[in-house]
């Protein structure tokens, strides 16, 4: 039971107090802590929000419902929720991650979404069920290869690698990921070296 820890978060009277109470609640990582941790995402306290995201990721699947219920107009909280959903990897978060990677104004949010799209948990589905979901992830990642921020393109490279590595070598989706990574690795003139290096590493691991 996390009830006293939940109360401590709700009663916190200072930024530092909120941070400490959130850390304690996040460490517990029980499902009944999720609604309170999601509330913390909207408190405009970055330290506490980081702790809450860690806690929500540790809670995992039982936290997804409450994360998806967040009001889209609550931008600050939504941005943190994207990170939590990316870390949890539950496929119910897929539409949120796709939307965030394509449209969010914050590079750190797009970055988290890109990584998340590469590590969605699909293992419990049949191959024919996995295929269209993976295709959605691929579409989003390939589209973001032209993102204006290097760190997002870096995360896209990491996402593409993670998505493709578990697939058997002749798989067309694996080939499509390799092709996109080859584009990032060779982007003439304009690509920053660290993105090229990371994409190259992914190409090697996939070849």
């Amino acid at each position: 039971m996390s009830q006293h820890l939940i109360e401590a978060v709700k009663q916190a009277g200072s930024a530092q107090g909120l941070l400490l109470a959130t850390l304690a609640l996040a460490q517990e990582a029980t499902a009944d802590a999720a609604p309170t941790l999601v509330e913390v995402l909207g408190f405009n306290n970055p330290g506490a929000a980081v702790a809450a995201v860690d806690g929500l990721i540790a809670i995992g699947e039982p936290a997804v419902g409450v994360l998806l219920e967040l009001d889209p107009r609550n931008y600050g909280a939504r941005a943190w929720a994207v990170r939590a959903l990316a870390g949890i990897g539950d496929r119910r978060g897929l539409p949120v991650l796709i939307d965030a990677l394509a449209h969010d104004v914050g590079p750190s949010v797009r970055r988290a979404a890109a990584k998340g799209l590469g590590q969605l948990h699909l293992d419990d589905l049949s191959e024919s069920e996995q295929l269209p979901l993976r295709e959605q992830c691929l579409d989003a990642l390939v589209g973001a290869c032209r993102d204006g921020e290097w760190v997002v393109r870096y995360a896209v490279a990491v996402g593409l690698e993670a998505l493709a590595l578990p697939l058997a070598a002749p798989n067309p989706q694996r080939q499509r990921a390799s092709l996109a990574l080859g584009g990032l690795a060779a982007n003439p003139g304009d690509e920053v070296p660290v993105v090229q290096l990371r994409a190259n590493l992914a190409v090697q691991r996939l070849s």
Partner: protein, 266 residues
Amino acid sequence: MVGEPISETEALERLRRSDDPSQQYYGAWWLGRNRSRHPEAVPLLIEALRLRRPRDPGAGVEENAVARNAARALGKLAPAAKAAIAELLAALEDPDDGLREASARALGELRASAAVEPLCRRLASGPQQAGASQTDSPRLNEPCEAMLEALGEIGSAQATVLAIIEPFVQHERPLIRSAAARALLQLTGDPRWGDLLVELLGHQQLQVRRAALMDLGAAGWRPALEPIAATLAENSLKLIALRGLVENGQGEPNTDAVLASMDALL
């Protein structure tokens, strides 16, 4: 890409409007931000830098703000802006310390070895004079942080230059200590300056930890990999620092190890 409200042509047009500082201010900023390669960009920015003068306070853009933005943009257009070095050297002698700051940074980005002498001359009086606060403001007499960083970027490692930088690692302000250590690390590769920056990663003020992250990245100091990853600061800044370790650094830990740390911070 989110929001690109004006085009390059429009930005150049605004920069030409020497009757309207606020238009020029935005035009100069745009050209730097978007790393314009238009052949007219550098000549127009040099012109804007040359026209520094007291501006009409009623125009909404403060005195010399256009010249400062032009200097910043010229730095961002390096190395294509070499033609601006002479005018930036002149601006380095301007009474406006904000303009000297922007010019010093731009000269550093342009790796302008002609700037070493004036930068050293202005810093030679050391932390007690060049590095003392102005009587009527918290700003320092010289923009030491920008000037020290420029010396590190330019890369002239003569003993006379090092001797001028070294006293600033004792400056009372941690941001100045960080800038001096960064320059010395870039110029000498001596681990004690890397150690000093790593120590600043643990400073109680977030602003100082952020500066030390950027400085370690600029110097590409790979032994700082673990401390950077463990610093209490935004992952965005740690990623920028680690990018610097990859691109500006060498040796151990190797590139793959730095990339693995970056992956974990996404």
